[in-house]
């Protein structure tokens, strides 16, 4: 794969959070939609890597016409080309990834955000890597590229327990990055202005293949946890432990207080529990 092959960055257009109330964001309202911090970090890294490797950046999104705003912002920031795959906002990740992989067949590096804000599955990058049968490295917290050979990316990824691993990833590859990795540069004014009327390739896509099952949506509640069976000779002791009777702190007290009173209440609780003298 030559270093002049472009770097692609996948940007997901997401409706804003749905809890805004009557004045706040509305799912159908493009004004409040945008791309995630992770996607912005991916764009910034794509621009930096392209600079180091002497190649260009193609920004791509699978989404409705409104998503072109994200592409224009990417062009303003320095992307060379912008592609929109015409798909619904809620298209299935498998269809999205398939179409992205088709369009990105020539990209040397495909950069993604680690998770999209709404769906949060982090699966599209892995799906794209599968379709192209290339290496993947997901959820990266640092990226560097070997400019000498331009054939390997060096990256850092989190493992459990606070450990990290250093990866050498052969090109072509799919990388996904965390939002804190980089801050997107501010677009220079001339590019920002030119991007408003810049050309965007719009690609028609076949009708949806996959359809997610309809879901019952409820407010989040933590799942009841499995409890180890209590030990103890006496039945009453076991029961007490199970029900926490007598030993349990008063879990679940909620108070509405003015800040000074709230602070005093917190200090009292910390004292009572023995965290403060």
């Amino acid at each position: 794969m030559s270093a002049t092959a472009p770097i692609a960055v996948c940007l997901k257009w997401t409706p804003a959070r749905l809890d805004g109330g009557p004045l706040g964001p509305d799912a159908a309202d493009d004004r409040f939609a945008g791309i995630s911090p992770a996607d912005r970090a991916a764009l910034e890294l794509a621009l930096r890597l392209a600079d180091r490797l002497g190649t260009t950046v193609t920004a791509i999104t699978a989404g409705p016409a409104g998503a072109e705003r994200a592409l224009r912002d990417a062009l303003a920031a320095g992307a060379e080309r912008a592609v929109r795959l015409d798909m619904a906002t809620d298209a299935d990740s498998r269809d999205v990834a398939f179409e992205l992989a088709q369009s990105l067949a020539d990209a040397a590096i495909v950069l993604c955000g680690d998770y999209s804000l709404d769906r949060g599955s982090g699966s599209v990058p892995a799906f794209v890597a599968h379709h192209r049968r290339i290496a993947q490295a997901l959820g990266l917290v640092d990226i560097d590229v070997d400019t000498a050979t331009a054939a390997t990316v060096h990256a850092t990824r989190r493992l459990d327990g606070g450990r990290r691993e250093l990866l050498a990833i052969p090109l072509p590859c799919v990388l996904s990055v965390e939002g804190s990795l980089a801050t997107l540069r501010r677009a220079p004014l001339p590019r920002a202005l030119a991007s408003r009327s810049a050309h965007i390739d719009v690609v028609a896509t076949p009708p949806a293949h996959h359809h997610g099952a309809p879901a019952i949506v409820t407010a989040y509640r933590p799942r009841a946890r499995v409890m180890p069976a209590p030990a103890g000779e006496v039945v009453l002791d076991r029961l007490r432990r199970l029900t926490d009777a007598g030993t349990a702190p008063s879990r679940g007290e909620t108070v509405v207080l003015e800040p000074p009173a709230a602070a005093a209440r917190i200090v009292d609780a910390l004292r009572e529990w023995g965290y403060l003298p």
Binding site: P22, L23, G24, R186, L189
Partner: protein
């Protein structure tokens, strides 16, 4: 050698003034860039809640078919409050509930965004998340462009129109503003309260898209100012406009004053059980003509709140219509000047002429005394009680006493409240002159 301009006109601020200026300019085929610091037009803009859009007839025919309106104002009330009393003058008109309409409640993020989209459709380049941080001038001090907060952020134009709102950075930078005097500003504070639409309909006695606009004198708890209540589809805007020096002197927090207003026996039943959605505050240029900057400079026009065009005179709180009109006239004057090749102060004289011929400056001239009068201590703290106690005695049945005559009631209440006849007469005359 002077650098060539990048575009014909730069409009700073995509509020109502900037959007209307851009619409006119772009329709005339000029190259316009509209710069806005927020993420989209109207995103950060707040106001009380009522737009009087008559002037839009000239810009967007049948605007009512498409404007993002909450409710049409078909009922307008003026309320005079003392701590325990309320006197309301209530006007209703079914005519205001049909085209061409008189007034509408609307959310600014909706309204401003919609207006700016017309500028964009006409060909203006709207660039958001871009803040103007300086003016570019040539050797003669003529304004030739702006500096933005973006890298490589200078942009040159034949003409700059400042529509950047109250405390206009651009007008100040150009030296057009007289020194700031806090006494010329009021603080507008507002709470947006959510209630189901049916509840609002029932409490305010309206149906469908009908809405209510209530202006309030008194009820601001010793701080000179006024209050308002407006209905949106499923929210109520309640707020107050407060004299800044008084607020500071009394060390009162604006939230307390809204809380006081909401607790008033005449208001409480309207807002009971509503959920607070948003609290916002904004400064209002209040002194009208007395604080207007120079409206033109070489290569520069100032419109809307940036030019203190907001009319805040007691029962009137209008700014959006003044902003739209002044923006539109600024656009027209700019077109003439650019076509004539003279964008100096002299070449731009058409702006002030247009403002003087229309409501924009004529209303301000007519009502130039009104802000001062309405916010004066007697009108604020003494007359509400006079008016309500006169009403109370008129309506009270004191059998076996016979009904007293109005003149007698007024005289005795005036004396009770220690108002000198001379002051009352003078204020009456002032009022007549101010509003007549």
């Amino acid at each position: 050698m002077p650098e060539t301009p990048d575009v014909d006109v730069i409009v700073v601020g995509a509020g109502p003034a900037g959007a209307c200026a851009s619409i006119e300019l772009a329709r005339a085929g000029l190259q316009v860039v509209l710069l806005e610091r927020g993420p989209f037009p109207g995103s950060k803009n707040m106001y009380g809640g009522v737009v009087y859009p008559r002037i839009l007839d000239e810009l967007i025919p049948n605007w009512w078919d498409e404007a993002p309106v909450q409710r049409w104002v078909t009922r307008r009330s003026t309320m005079v409050l003392t701590p325990t009393q309320a006197l309301t003058v209530d006007f209703r008109s079914t005519a205001w509930g049909a085209p061409p309409y008189n007034g509408a409640t609307a959310y600014r993020p909706d309204f401003d965004h919609w207006l700016a989209s017309h500028a964009e459709a006409a060909g203006a380049q709207v660039l958001c998340s871009t803040t103007v941080v300086g003016l570019l001038r040539d050797a003669n001090g003529r304004v030739v462009g702006v500096r933005t907060d973006r890298p490589d952020g200078d942009l040159r134009a034949r003409l700059v129109i400042a529509c950047d709102g109250v405390n206009s950075f651009v007008a100040k930078e150009a030296g057009l503003h007289p020194p700031v005097d806090a006494a010329n500003y009021t603080l507008g504070v507002k709470e947006t309260l959510a209630l189901p639409k049916e509840v609002i309909d029932e409490r305010f006695g309206v149906r469908g898209r009908e809405g209510v606009d209530i202006e309030i004198l008194g009820g601001t708890g010793g701080v000179n100012g006024g209050g308002f209540v407006y209905t949106n589809l499923d929210t109520i805007a309640i707020g107050a406009v407060l004299k800044l020096p008084k607020l500071a002197a009394q060390k009162r927090r604006p939230e307390e004053i809204i809380a006081g207003l909401k607790a008033h026996p005449a208001i409480a039943p309207l807002v009971e059980g509503a959920e607070l959605k948003e609290y916002s505050a904004h400064v209002i240029p209040e002194a009208g003509l007395a604080m207007m900057p120079k409206l033109t400079g070489d290569g520069l026009l100032v419109a809307g709140d940036a030019a203190a065009m907001c009319l805040a005179a007691g029962i009137w709180l209008e700014g959006v219509n003044f902003a739209m009109a002044s923006g539109m006239y600024a656009g027209r004057a700019a077109i003439d000047a650019i076509r004539a090749g003279d964008v100096s102060t002299a070449g731009l004289a058409g702006y002030e002429r247009r403002l003087s011929e229309t409501f924009v400056l004529r209303d301000h001239r007519k009502l130039k005394r009104a802000p001062h009068l309405v916010l004066s201590d007697r009108v604020q703290h003494v007359y509400p009680e006079l008016i309500t106690s006169v009403a109370e005695r008129m309506f009270r049945v004191d059998n076996p006493e016979p009904k007293p005559g109005l003149r007698r009631i007024v005289t005795s209440e005036r004396k009770r409240l220690g108002i000198r006849r001379r002051d009352l007469a003078r204020d009456g005359l002032d009022g007549f002159r101010s509003f007549g």
